[in-house]
């Protein structure tokens, strides 16, 4: 396959950045998208040019480190992570536009690498159950209906990649935040801190500069793990009932 890559290059956060076109030949349909970029980078390196920097690690769709806005969609044309996207989704002669995630809360570090530590800070604001190691009850002490456990699991599969933010026209982090709030709100272990958690995580989400939700559903449609919009509704419920009934004045 012969391709033209239109790639966002930006030296660092203070650089203005811009697109650079790279012709690329000899791409096999069996390559993953990131392997195609590896080929580009080997070529660039051989020519003595700075390779294109992008985030990636596990390359099996679970660590959430890879990103990339490919041809107008986060993680490209399939509903999967970029590392699981394969070149058979493209055709010979295509021009592929590759941009970084765009959000004020995800500043560009270099080229296609962005800083997603805002997600970590949202979790730090309350995305946990405050139990110390040791001294916890036996695992089977509290039965949890299978249907609830399964639903909590579905919310918990979020990989924190940020595709929801990238896809949202408002760069909103509601799907990410709601997935964690939902998971813990559904489980008995999360009940004690339920109200505090909703209030604090949402306050942090706002502080990070993410946008609001317009319920377009783009986030869920693009989420590589299929996190559902019902989580956002649940988060809203959690938040409204928390602010009305919690003791935080």
């Amino acid at each position: 396959m012969k391709l033209t890559l239109k790639v966002w290059r930006q030296k660092n956060n203070s650089d203005k950045g811009g697109f650079v076109n790279y012709p690329l030949d000899g791409i096999s349909k069996d390559m993953s998208f990131l392997e195609m970029l590896d080929v580009l980078n080997e070529e660039l390196s051989e020519k003595g040019e700075d390779p294109v920097h992008f985030d990636h690690d596990c390359r099996e769709g679970i660590c959430g480190m890879c990103s990339l806005y490919i041809n107008g969609k986060p993680h490209g044309p399939q509903q999967t992570t970029t590392c699981q996207l394969h070149m058979r989704s493209f055709s010979d002669g295509d021009t592929i536009t590759i941009e970084p995630w765009r959000a004020a809360a995800f500043p560009v570090v270099k080229d296609l690498v962005v800083d997603r530590s805002s997600f970590d800070r949202i979790i730090q604001a309350g995305g946990y159950v405050s139990v110390n190691t040791g001294g916890v009850p036996d695992a089977n002490e509290i039965p949890i209906p299978k249907i609830i456990a399964d639903e909590a699991f579905d919310a918990a599969t979020c990989i924190g990649c940020g595709a929801c933010v990238a896809a949202c026209k408002n760069a909103s982090a509601m799907l990410f935040t709601s997935a964690k709030i939902s998971q813990l709100a559904m489980l008995p272990q999360g009940q004690v801190e339920r109200k505090n958690r909703a209030e604090k995580m949402i306050a942090q989400m706002d502080e990070e500069g993410f946008g609001a939700c317009t319920n377009t559903g783009a986030c869920a449609a693009e989420c590589p793990k299929g996190i559902s919009l019902t989580n956002i509704a649940r988060m809203n419920r959690e938040y409204f009932s928390a602010v009305l009934s919690s003791d935080n004045v």
């Binding site: 536009t97 765009r102 896809a167 377009t216 509704a233 959690e238 409204f240």
Partner: protein, 227 residues
Amino acid sequence: MSWVTKTLSSTLGRKLIMALTGLFLILFLTGHVSGNLLLFKNDGGEAFNIYAKFMTTNPAVKLLSWLTYLSIIGHVIYSIILSRKNKSARPIGYSESKASTNSSAASRNMGVLGTVILLFIVVHMQSFWAQMHWGSIPTVTYGGEEYKDLYSIVYAAFQVEWMVALYVIAMIFLGVHLSHGFASAFQTLGLNHKKYTPAIEGLGKFYCIVIPALFASMPLYIYFTQS
């Protein structure tokens, strides 16, 4: 900040205001359209004029109208606040975007749709509401009581082609706005459930077609049948 202002200045609090005012306006539209159906009554506007007087004088209705004005203003102001926040959340946009593959055009353009509807509301209120309240309009007498003849104003307005066109187009915008707004308001309130959400979405689809269609049929009816 008190917890109230803090809540109302959070993204979710602001969305709550959008949803509540939106839902109230949906209720208002339902009332508005059912009353206005009297325009179809072939009685030279009698029933309509009696209804119009009731609507402008009854204290309970007055309270509701004030709530409606507030809702419109709140809906508009908070949409501006949220739009600005949303804009600043992505200072640099994408050079290429295939948003149409993941979301409806209506959901992505609520602001544009809303702005058109707002402009329409201004024209609409100027034409009828302001006339009714402060304008000098002819009066009619039914059963010894004097009524403002709003019907004649409406009748005259809908003889003008561009007015009819404006109303029909505005109602299309309203329909599209509602096609997303109706179900979206419930989602924002957190009312999402496997059992009920399909019904809410179905109702939303029905509502966003039927209500604007009924509104639009009024100028069309008058224009085509009464001239």
